[in-house]
């Protein structure tokens, strides 16, 4: 019973998904006549973050705003704007946050430099550890005759009792 309702839900979900895909592809296809412009739109919108679902880019997102922004970019491509002009348009409205590759500047320094700093820190720690270990191993000399005698005495202590 449970299995049946589950599989029914699955069929329904697939159906919904496919109709949604068809609906969006027909509306977008109507606007997309020029393959070169379409390619530019694709590459541009892959660089831009969708602010509604922040881990998706504008190309992947189906959010209303992403659709609007794709339309806006398409309009600007048709108007003959350069890629830089289009990116600037987005940045003046939504800030560096829309860029998946934000420019290097004061506020993004930690973002860009952070991984390198962590890597250097790790290398430094590793080097220190290796050096210490090498020193410890160098200090590992065989026991002297007196020390061997003492060790034997200690080890044999238990046997005599």
């Amino acid at each position: 019973m449970k299995l049946r309702s589950l599989s029914l839900a699955f069929v329904f979900a697939t159906f919904l998904g496919s109709t949604a895909a068809i609906a969006s592809s027909t509306t977008e296809a109507a606007l997309a006549a020029d393959p070169v412009a379409e390619k530019r739109l694709q590459s541009l919108s892959e660089e831009l973050r969708c602010l509604v679902c922040q881990n998706q880019n504008i190309a992947d997102s189906n959010a209303e705003l992403a659709q609007d922004l794709r339309r806006e970019i398409r309009g600007m491509i048709q108007a003959g704007k350069t890629d830089k002009e289009i990116i600037d348009f987005m940045v003046t409205r939504y800030g560096d946050f829309v860029l998946y590759r934000p420019p290097v500047k004061g506020i993004t320094l930690l973002l860009w430099g952070g991984p390198i700093a962590l890597l250097l820190l790790g290398l430094f720690a590793l080097q220190r550890y290796l050096r210490q270990r090498a020193r410890r191993m160098a200090e590992d000399r065989p026991l002297s005759a007196a020390e061997t005698g003492r060790a034997d005495a200690l080890l044999n202590e238990g046997d005599t009792k």
């Binding site: 509604v52 209303e64 609007d68 940045v91 409205r93 939504y94 800030g95 946050f97």
Partner: protein
């Protein structure tokens, strides 16, 4: 023993970092528009559709621009605060109705003519304001969300504080709560109106 303190310390630092990260609001994206002139527009007014309003009409005044729509659930949450604000404070509050019909998601826009959309949008906006009260000096209708893009709107409701020179001084994304109003917006308004 000493090295265990190091590991424990590192772990504690990581926990602290993650705790701070979880406390931040990912929606709170700093707007590049703060400090810039409010983008100009010319949109029809809800009450008088044959007339338009633009930011230039309020030049020399401090005012608020509040982005709303009847389909926006969070707008319902902040609305009583705005109604109360409009009764007590003498600062013009302008409503920007954002994609009243298109943003709803319940309509097939391919089957709707621009005239139908316009009629439906005005009707829906009017009904909503009648139901919940109208705190706005006036509301303008941004049917296709084009002005919303200029203002960097990405989550309704949003509120902008605009100064006498027409410069955006603050942007709040999400519903206004008593804390934001009392501790951020009101002091700013007082300062700007000095």
């Amino acid at each position: 023993m000493n090295r265990y303190y190091w590991i424990l310390g590192g772990f504690a630092a990581l926990v602290a970092l993650l705790a701070i990260g979880l406390g931040l609001n990912p929606r709170d994206v700093p707007s590049p528009l703060v400090g810039k002139p409010a983008p100009t527009f010319n949109l029809p007014i809800l009450a008088t559709p044959d007339k338009t309003f633009g930011p230039g009409d309020l030049q020399g005044k401090v005012w608020l621009l509040n982005v709303w729509a009847s389909w926006c659930v969070s707008c319902r949450a902040e609305h009583p605060i705005l109604v109360d604000f409009s009764k007590k404070v003498d600062v013009p509050l302008i409503g920007l109705n954002y994609k009243e019909v298109r943003g709803d998601g319940g309509f097939d826009m391919n089957k709707m003519s621009p005239e139908e959309e316009k009629k439906l949008a005005f009707q829906r906006a009017n009904t909503w304001l009648k139901q919940h009260g109208d705190p706005y000096k006036l509301t303008v209708m941004d049917l296709d969300g084009r002005v919303g893009i200029d203002y960097g709107v990405y989550g309704v409701p949003e509120t902008y504080v605009i100064d006498k020179a027409g410069v955006i001084r603050m942007k709040h994304t999400g519903p206004i709560n008593p804390d934001v109003l009392g501790n951020k917006i009101m002091p700013l308004l007082a300062e700007l109106n000095k």
